[in-house]
Amino acid sequence: MNLFSDPRWGEALAHLPDYLGSHVRVSVAALALGLAVSLPLAIAARNRPLMRGALLGLASIVQTVPGLALLALFYPLLLALSSVSLQWFGFSFSAFGFLPAVLALALYSMLPVLRNTITGLNGVEPSILEAAQGVGMTELQSLVSVELPLALPVMMAGIRTAAVWVIGTATLSTPIGQTSLGNYIFAGLQTQNWVFVLFGCFAAALLALAVDQLLALIEIGIRARSRVRAGLGGLGIAALVAATLVPSMAGTAAYIVGAKTFAEQYVLSALIAQRLAHAGLSATTREGLGSNVIYQALVNGDIDVYVDYSGTLWVNQFHIGETRPREQLLAELKTMLARQGVTLLGELGFENAYALVMPRKRAEALHIRTIADLASQAPTMSIAADYEFFSRPEWQSLRQAYGLKFRAQRQMQPDFMYAAAASGEVDVIAGYTSDGLIAKYDLVALTDPRQAIPPYDAIVLIAPKRAGDQALRSALQPLLGRIDIADMREANLRAAGGDEASSPATVARWLWDKIAKP
């Protein structure tokens, strides 16, 4: 099949106005804020070595924080700030999406701007500064009409670097709820849609390149004292910004369905959005949200509905160490959720729990059926899991319950774990019970007779502001209890297919056809 005749290119293109527009808006806002803060700071610090050292040091430290972590940090920070402001000043703001993304990216943009502005200003020859004083300029006049114009080429180089960094890093703002070109990349990585990944990478790279070149035009114009070139560059930037201000179609939908960063969530959010649309309720999805962000987003009403898992909430949100039998845990969870105004509408009918998984043939040969069987052989084996598993309480309790000890443990992108297990690169993985790849690679999930791992029922949660929304409830009612583990596994397998039939919307339609049959 021709790579470019793939219909997913068209699908990707359809998202472009929304994704690109949001991406440019958040980047430009961050860059503008970064400049507005950095320039005065740099000017104030240029003749103060102590302040200069402190500023550059601080900005360098910020730079060493990985972009994703910086963005993620701003979410809880703003949440706390928002609740403080609610307490003290009687208003709160959304800590979701645009605001944390802009703040984190602005912080990220500061180092090159600060450094180059200070370098540029300090690079002005002392004799020129003395001449400015000597002809009778005030300090401000000297700064504005001599120092800044002379430092401008160096400053522009810093601004260009900052722009490229911000545009690149903005792709990471997807998990905190800011739509960006990163939506392609996160969705593509999770659903093995390489067309999306490529599209997102190219779009972000092209955007960065275009902005860089426009800024270069301004810089050259300034260097060569050519107003025409500088003006053209400025016009180009202005046109880019103006184009993104044309209101996009997204955001007009009444209901926003949230999805975390893995394929199953993409499929389920598409399914919910389709059901809502079917009931005449306009709905859109907000995908790729971080696991910790999504629940707060629901509580704050930034999203209206999403699917979570009982064990995840139990451990991550309510920080309860010991587990409970399935029904009891659900009931307790429902009460705790209700206290925060969140409605637990019901279970979908399947569990997506952690499970220790290994190749079926090997398990049979070694007579391993339960985790207890595994424990005696574990010291000669290696285990791989996703990035969070080894720091989760489940891992603690598994080790305690069965005395598990492995020869080596590795962290891995979840999509690649199953293949690694199948190929024998690792012996055991901590997989997910609803993952279709378990069947595909002929793996087996070991049973957990001592119930060390809490139940992970997929449950539908509704935002406090939609608590009394009967139309929403009845639209989702047909889904409750209808999706069994086999259907979900197959849906997940389809979603990971890597071809045009594997888009979340297509798989969601397949899943609905499957469960709607009487």
């Binding site: 004799s127 020129i128 003395e130 001449a131 400015a132 004083q133 000597g134 002809v135 009778g136 300029m137 005030t138 006049q141 001599v146 114009p149 002379l150 004292r225």
Partner: protein
Amino acid sequence: MPTPPLEEGQLPLGQTETAAAPIAFAHVGKSFDGGHIKAVDDVSLEVGRGQFLCIVGGSGSGKTTLLRLANRLIDADTGHVTIEGEDVRDADPVALRRRIGYVFQSGGLFPHMSVGANIGITPKLLNLPAAEIASRVDELLDLVRLDRAQYGNRFPHELSGGQRQRVGVARALAARPKIVLMDEPFGALDPLTRDALGEDYRALHKKLELTTVMITHDMTEAILLADRIAVMRTGRLLAQGTPAELSQSRDSYVIELLSTPRRQTERLNVLLPRDGAA
């Protein structure tokens, strides 16, 4: 650009005595590095109206520091500096600098501004109308003998060293100051250009009735241009007076300074005999 030498008349020393000297230093001291380095040490010196004073000294003699004290590029630690009778400490430094012309050692032209903009900068800071500034710039280009059509829109990097210093002089004169301070203005130029510029400036000094203080390390240049010469060494004023008065000095350093031009003149007379005279 050779120019006809200007009349080398005897200097009208006593002629311009008025109530207050344009520039006066009284027991002025200035040290740097927390008092470790005495750049200017108890210097008293008056510059009369219309006078052309050269301050001569080696590097580190404090001559540049003394000049900067006059328009408050730096402030004195002790003593008083007065301009037209007014203590500079009571003056607004910015306003003071706008009414004193200053020519910098390396020209000090703003590289991002055209020649015209450089010359017109002080009038612009004084908020003069643009048309007036433009005609003043042309006038000054004529005055420093640069073609107004050719040079007004050029940038400093497109000029030769001598042309840059001409622009520097024009800029210093733009706001019609009565006092001009010059910090080794011609030091970096080749001898021919230097001679021509010196003579040209000397003519302007006379024509515009300026009071000029010029720093130089070159005694020959000082003798040829100045009405009076002040000799400085390690922050102290060793001697001052007309070239003739200085030649009577018994200070060994002053004698040494004067011996160089004398010796050179004798050597030159021997080496370059006027045609057939030798």
